[in-house]
Amino acid sequence: MPPEIEAIAEQVFSALADPSRRAILAALASGGPATATDLADRLPITRQAIAKHLALLSEAGLVTAEPGERRRVRYRLRSAPMRVAQQFLAALARDWDTSLDALKDHLENSA
């Protein structure tokens, strides 16, 4: 397995480990692209802290900066890294133990 997948998933999970970054990503996911000022108005986080988190998220490739109105930079969520992390979660969520127990119960108790 190429190491890049882990690197991408790790960035997603470290981003999500911080409540402020989670709130920023959630705001971008639900409301669409926004400037740092928009986010500061909507979230109980200072403008300075938002700028710091956006820089980090941008470096990790989780948001992308694009030109907005009046020369403001808007940030947009990038879903591709989230999908990579989701694959990791899918492996953890696949519950063969419960399914196979159900199969055993079905065969051994219905006979």
């Binding site: 397995m1 190429p2 890049e4 997948i5 882990e6 991408i8 998933a9 790790e10 999970f13 669409g32 490739g61 992308t64 694009e66 947009r76 990038r78 879903s79 591709a80 890294p81 999908r83 990579v84 989701q86 694959q87 990791f88 979660l89 899918a90 492996a91 953890l92 969520a93 696949r94 063969w96 133990d97 399914s99 196979l100 159900a102 199969l103 055993k104 119960d105 079905h106 065969l107 051994e108 219905s110 006979a111």
Partner: protein, 143 residues
Amino acid sequence: MGFPDRIERTVEIAHSPAKVWAAITTADGLAAWFGDEASIDLRPGGAAKLTWTGGPTVDIRVERVEEPTVFAFTWPIYGLTDDDPRRTYVEFTLEPSGAGTRLRVVESGFAQLPEDAYRKAYDGNTEGWMKELGELVDYLDAA
């Protein structure tokens, strides 16, 4: 971190391979322990469907049918979008064990990524909704 590509389990079941085979390859069998509703066209390339009440419906493609020892299928990776081409491969192997059956299930492919996924995950990708919304606007404009 350790990204698992493969899940492997073995269970001993106190029933013959023929009974286990029926439980994992027939609609009635699958609906009894796996999904809440099931349908299956049991041949390589055949379609199967598993539905969970109040949950998802999963489209399955049958890959291997070698009664009564190997049954395999592919299905979508849970959590990815419906149009995502990635699927995991699930293979059941049945082996007589005393009066019963040793059933092994291997699901692999969780760590796969298609060729362009690295590029997508690393580089800018601002398509998606912008494209969808553009199409909606075109559609409304044309109406």
